[in-house]
């Protein structure tokens, strides 16, 4: 039918739930401050938002999360789940009886977000830029909304300090590797993070170049295109909470990578999706893990393993 092509692309979408989106920082209105009395039942929408709330010690106050909130693992298991963050339902959200909603700017659809903002429940919008500065900004926005600015400032400052150390350490890297990030493999085609994607930002932070910089966002590519990228390393996503030897096998079978330097040096790195692309408080640790996996021979400080 009409949607034959769309159906094909649909698979991309399912895999892409973790990735970040372009910045709309200018559209963030002045966030409301949630009064202490309304902090008892928080609805957290966005994997990064849930992680930050957890880091600020608010996980007990969260009553419900969205389906992208996969860390801490207890989040999805013990809290109500209002569904995928781009497909919220007004009444569904109201039914968990939140006293306040803290949502990523990526939440949607717009009609529902508009209706929720119009209700009497305080609605805090958290920007979602996939940058190092974006992480501390998110933390500060959430801290300000909870009237916990000092705690948030401390967390943001420690994240910033970690990023600074990482940037300093990366200076000793002389030869930059060119890598690609494979989100998933669908029907033998790899979906790869190009320019302006969260994957691209992570590669830059880890001191590597993006071999797929000619793409924009996450896109499926052909084997021939893959061969042309000829990456030095391949980073493969593991869906949070799943072991995925399957994806590794699928990547190994990609014809386009057979002749790549990555295949010859066996540089295939597997990482948890939300950890790698979430741009939350764990991002400095993810950058460190990624960098030490990319440059195993460089005498950088030992990796802090992902939790």
């Amino acid at each position: 039918m009409t949607f034959g092509v769309l159906a094909m692309v649909r698979s991309v979408v399912v895999a892409a739930t973790l990735s970040a989106a372009p910045a709309f920082a200018d559209s963030v209105a002045q966030s409301p401050i949630i009064p202490a009395a309304s902090q008892s039942r928080l609805l957290s929408i966005g994997g990064d938002v849930t992680e930050i709330l957890d880091a600020l010690g608010y996980s007990d106050r969260i009553v419900a999360v969205d389906s992208t909130s996969k860390y801490p693992e207890s989040a999805l298991k013990t809290k109500a789940n209002v569904g995928y963050m781009r497909a919220l339902a007004t009444e569904g959200v109201l039914s968990v009886n939140p006293t306040a909603i803290i949502a990523s700017l990526g939440a949607g659809p717009p009609d529902v977000v508009k209706a929720l903002k119009a209700s009497s429940i305080p609605y805090v919008e958290v920007p979602d830029d996939p940058t190092a500065a974006g992480v501390s900004n998110k933390i500060r926005v959430i801290g300000a909304a909870l009237a916990q600015s000092s705690r948030a400032d401390a967390l943001a400052a420690s994240v910033e300090a970690e990023f600074e150390i990482l940037a300093k350490e990366s200076k000793i890297l002389t030869a930059k590797k060119r890598a690609i990030v494979i989100l998933s493999v669908q029907n033998g085609r790899a979906i790869i993070g190009g320019a302006n994607s969260s994957a691209d930002a992570m590669l830059a932070l880890a001191g590597a170049g993006n071999a797929a910089v000619g793409l924009n966002g996450f896109q499926p590519v052909s084997d021939e295109q893959l061969a042309e990228f000829a990456p030095d390393a391949v980073i493969v996503m593991r869906r949070t909470g799943e072991g995925s030897t399957k994806t590794l096998e699928a990547v190994a079978s990609l014809t386009g990578l057979q002749s790549s330097p990555a295949n010859r040096s066996r540089s295939v790195i597997e990482m948890d999706g939300l950890f790698l692309l979430g741009f939350g408080p764990r991002t400095p640790a993810a950058v460190r893990d990624l960098r030490s996996a990319l440059y195993p021979d460089t005498a950088a400080p030992p990796a802090r393993r992902e939790p």
Binding site: M1, T2, F3, G4, V5, L6, M8, V9, R10, V12, V13, A16, T17, S19, A21, P22, A64, S67, A80, N81, V82, G83, Y84, R86, A87, L88, A89, T90, E91, G92, V93, L94, S95, V96, G106, G108, P109, P110, D111, V112, K114, A115, S119, S120, N196, S197, N216, G217, F218, Q219
Partner: protein
């Protein structure tokens, strides 16, 4: 157009239910479905709270509970029930009309490219709202999408009629083939845009193409009212002509029916109805096929009963599917189009296998 007067009983008389009885049953079911749709939802607020909600609406009470009841019962559930009823009725009437026009029980508004055109415009709006179309998207805000879908559907239909007209004559076969071709072109363009979009746009495209009433609002309800009125006004004018067409185009012509006018009205009606429905709820399949089909099984092919009964049944189907969509995985919500396809697909398959009651069979 009403020169033809049919014998009241002789032509379509079968052992089926009387038309008044069918309309009565469907109306009663519609009423029950509406009440259910107003009383069932993930918040658990029931219709018992209605007086309080109305009180809050009239400004008699402003305590938080009453405001919440008002929000849930009137602004959310009532709006989405009305919108769902409209979407179902519009799609079913458009389906019945297309089936009459093409004298084929499997015809669907999708055949003349309306849905593909509406989808193309909507997809372009979603994918390009941050770049090429940003002035348009900015000016219309959240209404850019429905606006685009509606005019996309209408524009495609206009193009189709322009292509298929020859000396003022619309050939049904040409119309069908051109519709398929235009639908394919629009589908290809949609696919191209989808391929070129980034992942956030893709996620929105996908969700939109699965249909949903979760964004229902009073503004959307108000926006579909003119189309509901248009359907009510146009469809009775088509009934006799479509009945004549049941006999064949030539026979209808000899009965004194203005065939060309009928075709144009039927196409205009379907384009407006489907364009508005797609604009309000995204892509919701099967209603246009299943509702008229079931009605013909119950009542026979007389369009005097098929059109109004299809409208009622379409509304019942969509409103019930929407109740399921919001309850199955509460507090999360399933896309309406998925629920409809899960229910409608097997039902339709069953109907085909029974080979019952379609036109021309």
């Amino acid at each position: 157009m009403s020169i033809v007067e049919y014998p009241k009983r002789a032509v379509f008389q079968t052992s089926r239910l009387a038309p008044t009885k069918i309309l009565a049953i469907l109306s009663a079911t519609m009423l029950v479905t509406t009440v259910l749709s107003l009383s069932i939802g993930p918040t658990g607020i029931s219709l018992m709270s209605l007086p309080r909600a109305i009180g809050a609406m009239l400004g008699w009470s402003d305590d938080l509970e009453a405001q919440r009841d008002r929000l849930v019962l009137l602004d959310i559930r009532l709006a989405r029930t009305l919108l769902g009823a409209f979407v179902g009725a519009a799609l079913a009437v458009a389906g019945a009309t297309m089936q009459g026009l093409f004298r084929n029980p499997l015809a669907d508004p999708g055949l003349i490219g309306v849905s593909a055109g509406a989808a193309l415009a909507a997809i372009a709006t979603i994918a390009l709202s941050n770049s090429l179309l940003s002035p348009f998207a900015f000016a219309l805000g959240a209404y850019a999408l429905p606006f685009a879908a509606f005019f996309g559907g209408l524009g495609t239909t206009w193009l189709l009629v322009a292509v298929a007209s020859r000396d003022g004559h619309l050939g049904v076969a040409t119309l069908l083939l051109a519709g398929i071709a235009i639908g394919a072109i629009a589908g290809a363009a949609s696919g191209f845009i989808a391929y070129a979009s980034d992942d956030r746009e893709l996620r929105d495209l996908t969700l939109w193409s699965m249909g949903s009433l979760s964004g229902a609002s009073w503004i959307k309800v108000a926006a579909v009212v003119p189309f509901a009125v248009a359907i009510v006004l146009i469809s009775p004018r088509l009934v006799n002509a479509l009945n004549g067409l049941l006999l064949g185009e030539r026979e209808a012509f000899h009965l004194g029916i203005d065939i060309e006018a009928t075709k144009r009205w039927a196409i205009a009606l379907s384009a407006a109805a489907v364009g508005a429905a797609v604009a309000a709820a995204g892509i919701v399949g099967f209603v246009g096929l299943v509702a008229p089909h079931v009605v013909r099984l119950m009542a026979g092919p007389d369009n005097r009963i098929v059109l109004p009964a299809s409208a009622l049944l379409g509304a019942i189907l969509v409103v019930s599917a929407d109740i399921a969509a919001r309850m199955i995985f509460k507090p999360a919500e399933l896309p309406l189009g998925l629920v409809m396809a899960v229910v409608g697909g097997p039902l339709f398959l069953h109907l085909i296998m029974r080979r019952g009651g379609g036109i021309g069979e």
